[in-house]
Symmetry: C2
Subunit: 579 residues, 2 copies
């Protein structure tokens, strides 16, 4: 049985950064070559980053990507890496545009491809067949589908090549892999993290390995790109369903594994399959010492989510060139968790916390913020707001909710002023539950460029806080989050004695109804049918519907759920629900 | 030659408002019946509003729409309108979901259909074949395509029926109309206004009438829905290319026209065509007096745009239940034009203007705002900001841009405070040029729920102001916009003597480069190739790229161009351009 040494490169590309992304490919190729690999595969769009959205319809962008892939092939060869077969994803075009209805709209002119680089040339290319156009994905908008499976014959093994969504759908190229009698199926991916996604992704890879009777090698990118966090978790599974290798989540990593596969045969190819023979120099793999088993363990759910949030914050900050972040510290749980995430992402010296007590602030709001700042070692300052609020309140004669919102907006002015003076990115600390029901002040506590916990429901915020403290405890470190911030009843403290539960149902109940309405897409009657109170359900769903305009103006933040606010959930602002 | 009296109903639906939208259909049916019509067609999704976005994937919403169409048929019959054949658009489902890759995403389970109502029943149904998934449209995301053309035999005329995009594409159902030997082709639409779209839409309708040798009846909805404004402009064109009737833009209207068409034959039907015979009572049409010719003239370009903006503001306000709007009046051209649009939309008594002079404000900023308020008859107040700015500036030691932004943010606090106290919708007055290059203060002058001129470049803002004044003059009314606001050099007045051209290229030049980069989707080198200075092009495109995060948090506003900011143009925030 022939053997092939395969390397999967989990790189962390930045959208548009063709030079930087190509350097990542080169670094992976050097490492793969040093490890004796015959074949290196990187993720979907690893050369341009993912998703490129409407950049796919800009001809100059496509031309630059085409140049970059040619230069990459040349550089690999020039560095003595030309024998290594390298598979890398990028957009390809312009092709003849798909016919569209109106004259002005930019057209889909690109394909989402995997190029195969060898001896300084692009020797083959596969175009993605199935274009996801649901959830956060708009691929049918910007790409033209391919229609042919590619099989590479490398060192007497037939290696089938597909891209991401192609693995998920029963029809199309994956259906032809068995018939083409391939020994290895390489799938390059840009598959964002979602809570519990590993519970569908690994079983899928395993099922396809068994169905197609191949070794399936699944390689995914890592890192944050706007609201998405790619988690890597690249994996190789053989035709019996055994995991041969698995890369750690969220980290750049080169996974190297020896693949033993049936020798290629001269079976006639089924229709819509192209086969390209790649004359490969003798592989070092059979003669090299056996590789150590590289199978990462998946951490538990809460740690996965925490790491996704940390990755999302770190990459938004680094890829956009910020040196530091700033956030308001209220002494409450949301800002405490955001500060801890930011400190884990960037180091505490790059995180500036500001306590902004008002005349209604409790003593503990100040002392809990002090405690948090000390535990984390943040840059920390205190800016009382009373003297800034009073002149506005008096001049405009504000009271009630208007006066409450004013306090939040004065705090926003402080954070934005300090941001403008010092270049900090402002983090906004709202959680998913608040965003859902509009329990926030627009242009107040909602201000900021990035929202670390925007996809984290309040009940999960508490869970994550407890996990992070336990995690610190288990490593002999100081738990970062003050116990009192976790234990005390949540309050916006915009009027004397206020607590969240004056205005909102208990969070356990609220989050359960929101999950039904938002994630499960149920109607009001369906939710009542689950056993929730009729008026409560109508009140909550009404709040959700009416807060759409606020959400539309909110900062982006990392998606961790099956249904995040943002492009994952597209609903009108102007909407009179009657059902 | 048989004759059919056809009515096209330009209704103004609100998304989700099934009862209100059904009332509009009933009102049109009563009027059509009174006019002796045999057939009434309303627009695409006239029963639910358009676009419904992801509501199409909520089963309870689909169930409610299905109930509503049944009830509508029943009510038409109960009111003695059952002989009138009524065509109305709505989403239909749930159907078996289209296969998707991941388990959590809501699936496309609906079709975008036209139902045919007669004698209290839904007697036939056509499902849209071509699903636009470009520009602002996401139909492939939420709909499953149909695959069969519908032909209704009514009073010995074969009436083919399709939906919107189906008319634009060469393949599919429109290609079968000629072969099916239809006499009339009814197209129901939800086609949003775009500047110069009438220059492609009418020629298309004409071309299809000639190609298919039918009378083409094109009916479109009217009114604003979030960022879209539907302009109606329903039209009937015969097989020789002659316009038989045309409805006015932007207004609810019932267009009634007699259609003489070839008698139906028993030509065998081509594949993928269904024919449904509708037993219709004897038509009154042949015996009624001839209808007056109803062919509206299209107003000139600037008036069309102005009316689109007025419609967008009015419908956002009315459909979302606001009683009044508030906006800051700087004495400049942008706020003057927004105030005039709002006054045209709502009446001046529902428009509140606030002058918010600072220590740097010129005398004319105040006097021009006074003048505008008086010309329009606005609700008007003055709130000086110096005493509100000073305490923040001092406490935080802000200077430079941070101090400039502070002034804009204090103004935002004033507008939002008054909004919270009195329930006004805040209008934000930024134009497209500012949004493009980020020449605005986020959480400052950008605050508000609706942005009347967000798709209007600065040079067009001036043009519209001049047009509006001339228009008033030609009707013997006071020109609403102070001449000085049009003539003076634009300035943010955030520091002494500041004018926009300190920071920005001349607006004529800036708008030309932005048009190339944004609307025409050209790369930097292409734009330089048009003859613009290299450094200027790189500076402008760099500003555009870096302002994406601000635009993402901006208010929605009416689309009038071929490429508006918002869902029309989807680009990453995190983006390192190298091309």
């Amino acid at each position: 049985m022939p053997r092939l040494r395969l390397a999967l490169g989990q790189s962390n590309p930045t959208v548009g950064d063709l030079r930087g992304n190509a350097e990542q490919v080169l670094a992976a190729a050097r490492e793969a070559h040093a490890a004796g690999a015959d074949l290196l595969a990187l993720g979907e769009m690893a050369l341009t980053g993912y998703p490129i959205e409407d950049l796919a319809s800009r001809p100059s962008f496509l031309a630059a990507a085409t140049r970059a892939v040619g230069e990459l092939a040349t550089r690999l060869d020039a560095e003595g890496l030309g024998e290594l077969v390298v598979i890398v994803g990028h957009p390809d075009g312009p092709h003849a545009p798909r016919e569209l209805g109106t004259s002005n709209a930019p057209t889909a002119i690109a394909q989402n491809v995997a190029s195969v680089l060898h001896r300084g040339e692009v020797v083959a290319r596969y175009a993605k067949h199935h274009l996801p156009n649901y959830s956060v994905f708009d691929e049918y908008r910007v790409f033209i589908p391919g229609d042919e499976l590619l099989v590479l014959r490398i060192r007497d093994i037939d290696v089938a090549l597909i891209v991401c969504e192609d693995l998920w759908r029963d029809g199309g190229p994956v259906g032809r892999v068995l018939e083409a009698d391939a020994g290895l199926l390489v799938v390059i991916n840009a598959s964002p993290f979602e809570r519990d996604k590993d519970e569908v992704r690994l079983p899928l890879v395993t099922r396809r390995a068994v169905e197609t009777d191949t070794v399936v090698a699944y390689v995914n990118i890592v890192g944050g790109q706007d609201d998405l966090v790619f988690d890597g978790d690249s994996v190789v599974v053989d035709g019996s369903g055994t995991i041969l290798a698995r890369a750690p989540q969220f980290r750049e990593h080169l996974l190297v594994v020896d693949v033993d596969a049936e020798a290629a045969t001269d079976t006639p190819l089924p229709p819509a399959v192209a086969r390209v023979a790649i004359a490969s120099a003798a592989s070092a793999a059979p003669d090299l010492p056996a590789l150590p088993r590289d199978v990462a363990e998946l951490p538990d759910d809460r740690e996965q989510i925490w790491t996704a949030l940390v990755t999302g914050v770190r990459d938004y900050v680094e890829k956009n060139g910020f040196r530091s972040v700033i956030l308001g510290l209220s002494g409450g749980i949301d800002s405490a968790v955001c500060a801890a995430i930011a400190a884990d992402a960037l180091g505490a010296d790059r995180v500036h916390g500001v306590s902004m007590p008002s005349r209604w602030s409790s003593d503990h709001s100040r002392s809990d913020a002090d405690d948090l700042a000390e535990r984390l070692g943040l840059q920390y300052s205190v800016e009382p707001i009373a003297d800034l609020v009073a002149p506005v309140e008096t001049q405009l004669a504000l009271d009630g909710v208007a006066a409450e919102n004013l306090q939040a907006r004065i705090r926003a002015i402080i954070l934005m002023g300090l941001s403008n003076m010092h270049g900090h990115l402002v983090l906004t600390t709202g959680n998913k539950t608040e965003l859902a029901v509009g329990y926030s002040t627009i242009y107040g506590d909602s201000v900021g460029g990035f929202a670390p916990i925007k996809d984290v429901p309040k009940t999960l915020v508490w869970e994550l806080a407890r996990w992070r403290n336990e995690h610190a405890g288990s490593r002999g470190e100081t738990p970062p989050i003050p116990e009192n911030s976790i234990a005390k009843p949540p309050s916006a403290e915009l009027r004397p004695g206020q607590v969240d539960q004056d205005s909102l149902p208990p969070y356990e109940l609220l989050d359960a109804v929101l999950e039904a309405y938002i994630t499960r897409h149920l109607g009001k009657d369906d939710i009542v049918g689950l056993g929730y109170d009729h008026d409560l359900v109508h009140r909550i769903t009404g709040l959700v519907d009416r807060a759409e305009w606020k959400r539309r103006q909110g900062a982006i933040g990392p998606k961790i759920s099956g249904m995040a606010f943002g492009r994952d959930r597209r609903l009108p602002i102007t909407y009179r629900p009657t059902e």
